[in-house]
Amino acid sequence: MPRQVRKLVTIIAEAALEGMLLEDVEALGAHGYTVTEARGKGSRGVRAGSWEASSNIRVEIVCDDRTADAIIHHVEERYYRNFAMILFISDVDVLRPEKF
């Protein structure tokens, strides 16, 4: 099967953002996403995940270049200033490019 390259956008953010973030990601053209619970430490301190206010989520989206750019731009503009979050992008090989 031929492989093709797509973008994997990973966002780790406060769990409070889940509803808004997922709405945005879909509206920007992503065909799907995966959400897992996460905890860790960053510039805004320890996010221990023991209760609502200290919980993080990790959102992974596989999409084409254009959607990835739209998501990056939107997240940067809208959320970076006030929320504990990071975003990073990597290339991934996919087997069924039409899904993404």
Partner: protein, 314 residues
């Protein structure tokens, strides 16, 4: 009778374990489950009682309680903004936390009264629901002004469909629909196990409170003073309101406790999304690191003492 209610000792254990950096931690789903059971139990109990009340007779009290919830942030805001020199958004957020209520504190106060065989108006949970909301609206208006482009639709969604409101109101409605008899089949989980659930919940709250204590060092003595002073102002308002409505001794203690407590579920969740520039560390440090432990350990017995004096004086 032991001087200390055992559930309080679970809180102390949680704080101690947290301060000593024990490995102990409750998985988040367990904490969520415990708080769900508490919210539903409180709602169900109040709802069953509502069936026996004439609702119109409760309306003046409901209105007065809602007004109290709206006034408290207005009292707290200038103190935080002017005296404490906190930024507008931060001052508004903390003010909203203190106008709203802590269901955990309310649960401890009901357990405190039950432990001492002191009766109270069983419809008090209605006031818990009523007090959750106005402070959030006033707080957001203080942060942003009323004309601004606050997304009121998002706000209505956050405020009315937040976890605590849905479970409390849902419990009230179910309790109201089936009455005390109808609740018997599920009473084992919600009523018989209530104290055990509360004990585990307080263990986790102790761990969380201990975690907030660390950030107290950064935020200084003002927050500590506010976190200890504001509950006393609230308690005074609550005592006054309870006296005006000639509530029982237990009801007076609960009203004072409600007014003295500060939210840590509904308000932080709503503010995080509606006023994200407010720093949640400040409000949670005050609410969970200072006021919650104060109310649990010293506040409730103190309000009991005051309510008894008040009743004796009448």
């Amino acid at each position: 009778m032991a001087v200390l209610d055992p559930v309080i000792l679970f809180f102390v254990l949680g704080v101690a374990a947290g301060l000593m950096r024990s490995e102990l931690r409750l998985p988040a789903p367990v904490y969520e489950f415990l708080s769900m059971v508490l919210l539903l139990a409180i709602g169900l109990k109040g709802g069953a009682e509502l069936g026996r009340q004439s609702l119109p007779a409760l309306l003046p009290q409901v209105a007065a309680v809602a007004a109290m919830g709206a006034i408290m942030p207005l009292l707290a805001f200038p103190v935080l903004h002017v005296v404490g020199r906190l930024k507008r958004a931060d001052a508004a957020a903390i003010a909203a936390h203190y106008g709203s209520v802590s269901v955990g504190t309310f649960a401890v106060a009901t357990a405190y009264l039950t432990y001492r065989d002191i009766g109270f108006e069983a419809y008090m949970p209605v006031f818990v629901v009523i007090l959750e909301i106005p402070a959030i609206i006033v707080g957001v208006a203080l942060a942003r002004g009323i004309a601004m482009e606050t997304r009121w639709k998002r706000m209505a969604h956050e405020v009315l469909l937040g976890k605590s409101i849905v479970l409390l109101v849902g419990g009230l409605l179910i309790g109201w629909a089936v009455g005390a008899e109808g609740l018997q089949p599920i009473g084992f989980l919600f009523f018989d196990l209530f104290k055990g659930v509360l004990a585990l919940f307080l263990l986790e709250m102790g761990l969380i409170a201990a975690g907030q204590l660390g950030s107290l060092r950064h935020h200084g003595p003002f927050l500590v003073a506010f976190g200890l002073g504001m509950p006393l102002v609230g308690a005074a308002l609550g005592l006054g309101l309870a006296a005006a409505f000639q509530m029982s001794l237990g009801g007076t203690v609960l009203m004072a406790t409600l007014a003295a407590s500060a939210s840590y579920i509904a308000v932080p969740a709503a503010f995080r999304l509606i006023v994200p520039e407010a720093n949640p560390a400040l409000s949670l440090t005050a609410s969970l690191g200072v006021t919650f432990p104060f109310n649990i350990l010293a506040g409730i017995p103190f309000y009991h003492h005051l309510a008894a004096r008040l009743e004796g004086g009448l």
